[in-house]
Symmetry: D2
Subunit: 118 residues, 4 copies
Amino acid sequence: MSRQDSLEALRDALRAFARERDWERFHTPKNLAMALAGEAGEVIEHFQWLSGEESAALPEATRAEVSLELADVLLYLVRLADVLDIDLADAARRKMQINAQRYPVEKARGKSDKYNRL
Amino acid sequence: MSRQDSLEALRDALRAFARERDWERFHTPKNLAMALAGEAGEVIEHFQWLSGEESAALPEATRAEVSLELADVLLYLVRLADVLDIDLADAARRKMQINAQRYPVEKARGKSDKYNRL
Amino acid sequence: MSRQDSLEALRDALRAFARERDWERFHTPKNLAMALAGEAGEVIEHFQWLSGEESAALPEATRAEVSLELADVLLYLVRLADVLDIDLADAARRKMQINAQRYPVEKARGKSDKYNRL
Amino acid sequence: MSRQDSLEALRDALRAFARERDWERFHTPKNLAMALAGEAGEVIEHFQWLSGEESAALPEATRAEVSLELADVLLYLVRLADVLDIDLADAARRKMQINAQRYPVEKARGKSDKYNRL
């Protein structure tokens, strides 16, 4: 019994969701990119006045809110990739390979400046 | 033979990537939320001067760049969820259910104002 | 002579506002940069589902909301510049000069790609 | 009397800059809101891996870069307000008054949670 890959399952569910509501016309890449950035802005607002330590020990109510904000980012990201016909999981794997070459372990260890992008 | 779910596979790969480089100390939720928003900003810059139609017909070189930017957003999103101990796929499913109740098909069809969030 | 629309007047008012509330300790450049990005995200959310034309003909209530969001961006921007000891008006003038050289009128006219940054 | 640091002077300069380059057609509020958010994203990227203390003690080269990024945010903000026919200085003053009522000194002092918006 296969469980569908979660990114593909989300893509399909979002595609159906938009089609049923006749929202496809609003879902241009431009508009979805704006929605993505707007949701990322909502994520950041939860953390702006916290110290790094506080941000790692959120009250449960805040953590629950943040999880739905992260979900929003993911939903718009998956939908944006879909309308651009981009395979998001594949792009992520390719970017991981690029990062592995760009930040070799021996050079990047513990460095926070240029050697520290995911 | 199971293929690991892509979000879980990414989470594990990113966790190892950070650990090997001793980057865990930089990966507070606060910092990762900033990185997420920064990458979302890079996505948006590709689309800001395009019409909706143009944004749906990107030149291939631009589409390739955008796919790596979307990958960056996904990588930081997955990593942020991980350090917050949030199950991203589960949060997305819960948000989809909330959205289905909030935007019932018959009321939301073709409306672009308040009835049109993913 | 009034300096009612001056950046310096705003800077001074914000400095006093923060000091009176003992908020200076929260106003690190890092935190203020996050707040700035969060507010920019709120601005964008007002426009994400609108066409370009609709965005130029906002209902009055929306326009009133947007003007307070733009104010938020300005307040955080001025405060961020202040804690970094950056002269914002001077930086803007320098950037205008750079832009004038980078986008000469004869080459940039009507081009929306690389020739079109403020 | 100089109005060297004035928002109106910037607005006028930007208006002329766009008109000379025939860029007014690209300068819809929607597009300018995207550009604003993109620039705020660039600001944030300078600070994402720094501690609060490090963010307040930028190397001079970084501070110079950041000042031009802040200038970009200001330029797009002023231009966006202009195309929306919003008086930015007036909006900022109104927002300061709202904030003064919302965060009275005696209640807001030293609080970093809900009592701490500019």
